[in-house]
């Protein structure tokens, strides 16, 4: 009985958590493209104006970022200015929650068919590498190891802390700007 009463609240909390994580990830993608040369190098392989979407099917949370050139991303929030070039879609909010709460690695989620890729698979592989790099930076190592296939062995603590601080600062600034606007 109690479980039945709690369930809607738990579902709502899960939705809000995924929504929040999408907002953080979108902003953090923009931030990492400003602070990390490796991420920029990867992103340069994407066409200029390339729109990337990650969303929860059928019409749930979404994040949209654009490659604005020279490896830099711009976060568009949850609406795209034009049809997206690449969409990674979670089949269900529960699957998105597994990934966003680091219970399932992104690569495992792909292998488990939790997500659909609509668009060029090569670009999807590239975006996954950028997401992995982002997670390696912004998450504590013990959590990042649950999120990425392999924690980069060459990522030293000072580089990680410095980059994470800069990314979080940019994410926070972006949040504040959004609220002010």
């Amino acid at each position: 009985m109690l479980a039945k009463r709690i369930q809607p609240m738990a579902f709502q909390a899960r939705r809000l958590y995924v929504e929040l994580m999408f907002q953080v990830m979108g902003r953090a993608l923009q931030a990492i493209s400003e602070v990390d040369a490796s991420a920029r190098r990867e992103a340069r392989g994407l066409p200029e104006g390339f729109l990337f979407e990650m969303m929860v099917m059928p019409d749930g949370s979404r994040l949209i970022v654009e490659h604005v050139g020279d490896g830099r991303f711009h976060y568009h929030g949850n609406s795209a200015p034009r049809p997206v070039d690449l969409s990674i879609r979670f089949k269900h909010i529960a699957h998105a929650f597994l990934v966003m709460s680091f219970q399932e690695k992104t690569s495992v989620a792909f292998a488990n068919d939790r997500m659909l890729v609509d668009g060029d698979i090569g670009y999807a592989v590239r975006m996954t590498r950028i997401l992995n790099r982002l997670e390696s930076f912004i998450l504590p190592r013990v959590v990042a190891e649950r999120a990425v296939k392999e924690y980069p062995s060459n990522l030293r603590l000072p580089e990680k802390l410095l980059s994470a601080a800069r990314i979080y600062l940019k994410v926070a600034s972006n949040f504040i700007e959004t609220v002010r606007a």
């Binding site: 792909f110 090569g122 990425v148």
Partner: protein, 395 residues
């Protein structure tokens, strides 16, 4: 509770064995079709492989309405459009693909156009664009390797844009795969070897990559056992129809396995090498397989060790300490490649192919990093890792 989760899907009816071709009329009639079109290539026709297919149909009063026998090795959007035009003009109602990967992929694409409408197959590229079941479609493989008869993907070249268009939908799967040993009896030794090693790679990667699951494991191990047992027998006695059938079934089983569990770095490197150096896919698979297994070794030690049972049999498996089985599996694959090299000069290194220049390795590595298969490799692959594997595979 474990987080394990998997999906497995294969609705293709497999019709295999002696006189399997003679089931085609019954199958088509059962699907409500009576005006089939055959899609094949000139090599298949010249080898006389169409004759038993046509005879089997005519004997049952089923007329083949049209035969398109000009599918090129790398099929294009233009070819697909032309075949769809003939299909419509002749008022055909079903398709039979007779051939290897290219003929089968072409027929899959033609089926999309004649079922969904339009002339531009590029409009249907990607995943999830095909929404309805397609026309009745049978596949008769003439090589034992690609497994295309049980995969839900096709690749067609867009000649105007010089890009390869991928198509992915469960609706692309044929209604039935007809595996008849007559279809592979005349395969030349080097193609027999390369295609069988393609199937061996499908099964090995299916068993060791990230999306492995209990059902694909069952198909993969059975396929590996059949190839290990039958390949050298066929190489020594090409007219051995029993072992030919074993290889053909192994190819289909490996196809079912990898289409449900995906493949990894061997395929990523192989696709890139094929695109840059124009080497046959099966040859690339055979070439890279042991090097990639060595690269992945510590991540896949347990499943790779298990494969020794299917590669070498129970005696060798039992006599090998558990801690050495993974290495012994790689040795077994190397030994098989050495035997194939002796019999048909199937290359074991990039240098032995004579078609790859050392300066191309970096380009191959870069292209491989953008291949979808890399995502399912059990170990994270960096550009430097890919280069290192290529250097080991060089000579």
């Amino acid at each position: 509770m474990t987080n394990q989760y998997y999906e497995f899907f294969c609705p293709v009816k497999v019709i295999a064995g002696k006189a399997a071709l003679e089931h085609i009329p019954y199958e088509l009639t059962g699907l409500g079709a009576g005006r089939p079109m055959i899609v094949t290539d000139k090599g298949v026709r010249a080898a006389g492989l169409l004759d038993p297919v046509i005879a089997a149909c005519e004997e049952s009063g089923l007329e083949i309405i049209s035969i398109y026998d000009d599918v090129p090795p790398d099929s294009s959007t233009g070819v697909v459009k032309d075949i769809a035009g003939i299909y419509r003009r002749e008022k055909c109602d079903s398709l039979i693909a007779v051939g290897g990967g290219s003929a089968i992929d072409t027929a899959k694409a033609v089926n999309v156009l004649v079922s969904e409408g339009g002339d531009n197959i590029a409009e249907y590229s990607g995943a999830g664009t095909i929404k309805h079941p397609l026309k009745p479609f049978l596949v008769v493989p003439t090589t034992a390797g690609t497994g295309s008869e049980v995969t839900s993907v096709a690749v067609i070249t867009d000649t105007a844009k010089s890009v390869k268009l991928p198509f992915s939908s469960s609706f692309l799967l044929p209604n039935a795969a007809v595996i008849d040993p007559r279809m592979t009896l005349t395969l030349p030794p080097h193609i027999t070897a390369a295609t069988a090693m393609d199937a061996m790679t499908h099964a090995t990667e299916a068993f060791t990559c990230m999306a492995k699951n209990p059902l694909s494991d069952a198909y993969a191990t059975a396929a590996i056992k059949k190839i290990s047992t039958s390949l050298l027998e066929v190489m020594d006695n090409p007219k051995d129809s029993d072992n030919r059938l074993e290889l053909a079934q192994a190819s289909t089983m490996a196809g079912i396995a990898f289409s449900n569990s995906m493949v990894g770095l061997v395929h990523a490197l192989g696709h890139a090498t094929g695109a840059i150096c124009h080497l046959p896919h099966g040859m690339c698979m055979s070439l890279y397989l042991p090097y990639v297994l060595e690269y992945n070794l510590e991540t896949i030690r347990a499943p790779l060790g298990e494969l020794l049972l299917y590669l070498e049999g129970p005696e060798v498996y039992a006599a090998t300490p558990a801690s050495r089985r993974a290495e012994a599996s790689i040795s077994a694959i190397r030994k098989l490649r050495d035997e194939l090299f002796k019999r048909c000069r199937l290359p074991r290194t990039l240098k032995e192919t004579g078609s790859v220049e050392e300066h191309q390795l970096d380009t191959i590595a870069e292209m491989a990093m953008d291949d979808g298969s890399v995502m399912f490799n059990p170990k994270e692959v960096t550009l430097e890792d890919a280069r290192a594997v290529l250097r080991r595979a060089w000579a």
